[in-house]
Structure formats: C-alpha cells, structure tokens
Amino acid sequence: MSELLLPPEHRYAKIIEQKLNDEGSELSVLNLGPTHPATHGIFQNVLLMDGERILEAEPTIGYIHRAFEKIAENRPFYQITPLTDRMNYCSSPINNMGWWMTLEKLLDIEVPKRAQYLRVIVMELARITDHIICNSILGVDTGAYTGFLYVFQFREKIYEIYEEICGARLTTNMGRIGGFERDWSEAAFKKLDIFLEEFPIAWKEFENLFERNRIFIDRTVNVGPISAEQAMAYGFTGPNLRAAGVDYDVRVAQPYSSYEDFDFIVPVGKSGDTYDRFCVRNAEVWESLSIIRQALAKMPEGNVFHAEVPDYYLPPKEDVYTNMESLIYHFKIVMGEVPVPVAEIYHPVEGGNGELGFYLVTDGSRTPYRLHFRRPCFIYYQAYPEMIKGAMLSDAIVILSSLNVIAGELDA
C-alpha cells in the first residue's frame, strides 16, 4: 500500500527519524486547521516543520462537502440556482448568471441586449465584492485591519444594490432563464451611480495604504511565487493565473453576455507571488468599474429585461394568481412539463477566482441527468502544498488568503 494513502503522520515519522539521524535536527508536525482562526474557512493542513519553515504539507478538504452535484440531479432547473449561490458565496451573481447562460445555451435562447448589459453590470459588481473580500482579508492577515473596515463599507453598498435588484444580500438567487425576474428599479440605478462615484475614492485610498507599504511589501513580495508553467499545469485560472503572467480570461477568450462590446484590459502580473496576486485583483476592480460605466453608457433604451420565452421564463407571481395563461405556464415550468432537449453542454464564465464551468448532461426530464461544476478553487488549491514548501508558517497563511480559496466552492 502506498504511503500516500495513509495519514500524513506515517510518512512524516520516517522523515523525522532520518533527519534526526543524519543531521541531529528535530522536526515537528503541526496540524493547521480545520478550524484555525487565520484560515478563514475550513481547511486542514498537516505540516512537517523545521522550526518555522514548512518542509511538507498535506491538505485535507471536504469539511463542508454538501453534495451539490447529487442534489442537482434531484432538482428541477430553477431550484438549482440556490445551490450555485452557495458555491462561491462571495460572488453569487456570477454563479447565478453562469447557470442561466448554461441553460440558455441548452435551450437556444437569445437574451435581449439590455438584459445582457444588466447581467454584465451585476457580474462585475460581484467581481468587485469578491476582490474586496480577498484583498482586504489579505490586509488583515498581514496586520492591517484598517483597510478591511474601510472597504467593507462599500460591500454593504453593493449589497444594497443587490437588494434593489433581487431583494437578497448575499445569496442572491437572481435572474431567470432569459433575463431577470423584474426590471431594475430606479433606486438601483441611483445607488449604482452613487457607488460609482464614491467607491473609486475609497479604493484608491485602500490601494495607497498597501501598494507602497514597506511592511506589506516585505510580507508579500516573493512569497508563494508560482511560475506560469507550473500554474497552468495545476489548472490555475483567473486572477491567480494572470498574476503569473498568463493573460487567459474567459471574458475575452469566449465572450458571453456581450463582453465583446466592452473595452477593457486583462491585467497580468509577472512573478505570480502574493503581491502580484494582490495587484492583479486591485487592477481588475478598476477594470470592472470601467466595464460597469461602459455598460451604463451603452445601455439600450427601453425596459426589456428578459427574453420572450414563456415556455421557460417563470411568470411573475401576481400574474400567476390572476391570469390563466400565466398560471398554465407556471404550472408547466414548476412541474417540469416543458420540453428539454437531450444534450451535453459546457459553459464557462469568468468567476471571481477563475473559470467557473457548468457541465450539464440532460436526458429530457425535468432534472439534469448529471451536473458537474468546474470549481476553480478546487482545482488550484491542490498546488497549495507545493507553494508553501520552504515558506514560513506565517507566510502559509498569507498565501492561502491571497489564493482566495472559498470553502463552499472547494468542497462543493
């Protein structure tokens, strides 16, 4: 039986003994997690330490395994949205929209331009919230609590916009097949304008607080670097890959929801270290802001917010109670009597952490036959033991938070 199949302590015991015999130095085993305060989530790593240095690490995951894929096989399409919310809960709207777009690809539905632009706005807002969390928590981990308190105010502002759009804050469950469930209120646009005015000032200050900060630079430059080749081999996507210098972005490579209409750059780093990851995320926030502004400027006139697909678009609830036709459609959709083609679909979107893919296999029934989520965190977290090898213990924490591993997405 291979050693790797046993708990890591078995493997470590041999190394410890050998090292003691060869050099007379004593190694120790440290269990980091699963509920370590510094790891922001449930990750266990059994570390083999030489003093403060990490020699080996073995991660254990699955502490919040919730069986999303199994649930999805038992739920009709509309009931799967809440699951996508809870995957990467820092940027739920991206997950929601990704799921709707997968279904639209399956059903060949063309979404009106205005709805696409609205989607772009809300997805970019979600990207901003994601990056706010990641970068401000990185600040907390390097000892700068102020930045966190400062920019978290603006997360609340974004939540307020979400509330205007869909009524929920964090797990938004936003949208429908073909568009949104309701048109955006005037208040939503007003709040968005205020946000676009106020947030850049705060974000600039936040950046200034860190970018040239001696302590922050000492803690992050050359900490946890990963080369482009290595990152690609480990399946990195998103900001973490771009920090290593590869400009792969699904928004550019395979534009969805009219991303091709907007002019933005894909920021890349150089060395793939923690500092670069921080800077790439910072830069992406600026790009997101610019995309939102462009989308608002180019927004087509009118108030179209969904495609005319009564077979799949869940009618508004008040119509269901008063209108015969709506009631029939509601019944058909909820009971799964609408035609669903037998197909296999893969649809990627650029999530907060990288390529978020939905692989959907249908057999014509009301539930998916198989739904697999390509969760970026799950795939790149396997590089973590490699990245912290040789680093200090305190750096391991910083590297983890700069990778922005979201437990819900990791464990599915």
Binding site: R66, K70, D85, R86, I133, Q153, R169, L170, A407
Partner: protein
C-alpha cells in the same frame, strides 16, 4: 461622557441607600456576563461572510460587548456556529465545544446550522443540535447581520436571567449527558 450618546446598561433591580446598593448576586453576575460575551466564530460557509459584515464597521458587533473575538475556545463564552456542518466536521465542532469553559453558550446561525437547511443530503449534519446543545437559533439563509445581532441580544437576555447555579444543577448535567459530553 455627558455629551456623547453612549448608553450605559441599566443597573439591576435592587435597594439603593446611602452609600450602598443591594441586589441579587444572580443579577450582577448575569449583567456582567451578558455584556462581555466573547464570541468564538465557527464560520464554515456563507453565514461566515455575513458574520464578517456583522463584525465590520457598518453593523459593529462590538457595540454589544463582543469586541474581542476569541479564536481560542478556552477563553470564549459564546460559540457562534455559522454555516453548514458536515458529518466530517461534526466531531470537530464537538471537540471545540468540549474545550470551552463553563459557562458556555451556543448560537446556531443560519438554516444550515439550525437544521441542515436546504442540504438534506447524505453528507450534511441535520442541525448542530444533534451533537451539541444550542441556546439560540437564528433563522435565515444566510441571516442578515441585523438578525445575527438580534440572536446575540436574545442570548444576552438568556444570560442575564440565568441562575449562577444552573451549570451545576442535575438538569444541566443530564442535558450534557444526553449529548455524551464528559
């Protein structure tokens, strides 16, 4: 102090005289405990993000005497379980609870911690009250920060009215025994 709008907590019922104030020990202890609850955030998923918002400047849990987040279970008074607890996580949660010193309270924040929520699956524990006793349940998926604050305030009410002898009473021992704790 006079020109700021800081609210001081009201003294418990008692008899005031010249140079003395007589009241029940229970009330004084309860008052002190209730306004200095150190939370131990056991955040696993989505609700943890809402807890971060609760801790941050906008909602500021510190206003209720919980400024100091105790990540060590040894010094914590109130265990806030936020997020899904899977069966793999159950024993760990229990261990954390066992490490806490008496008196200890538990808040189950969110639907998952309270009942398993929407995850009625083979891998998810259907409510943390299967493994540890819970004092306050906060509904919501995830609850808003206001709801979390409300949960903390409800717990404060409980703490205020708790008898100092409760933790050594046979009923309490029985409760722990029913969870197989010590």
């Amino acid at each position: 102090m006079s020109d700021s709008n800081i609210n001081m907590v009201a003294p418990p019922e008692g008899v005031t005289g010249e140079g003395f104030f007589a009241t029940k020990l229970n009330d004084v202890v309860g008052l002190a405990r209730a306004n200095s609850l150190w939370p131990l955030p056991f955040a696993t998923s989505c609700c943890g993000i809402e807890f971060m918002a609760t801790m941050a400047s906008h909602y500021d849990l510190a206003r209720f005497g919980s400024e100091r987040v105790s990540f060590s279970p040894r010094q914590a008074d109130m265990l806030m379980v936020m997020g899904t607890i899977s069966k793999k996580m159950g024993p760990i949660l229990r261990q954390v609870y066992e490490q806490m010193a008496e008196p200890r309270w538990v808040i189950a924040v969110g639907a998952c911690a309270s009942s398993g929520g929407i995850f009625d699956t083979y891998s998810v524990l259907q409510g943390i009250d299967k493994v540890i006793p819970v004092d306050v349940y906060v509904p919501g998926c995830p609850p808003r920060p206001e709801q979390i604050l409300d949960g903390v305030m409800k717990l404060q009410e409980l703490v205020k009215s708790e008898s100092v002898r409760r933790r050594s009473s046979p009923e309490y021992q029985e409760l722990l025994a029913s969870y197989n704790i010590q």
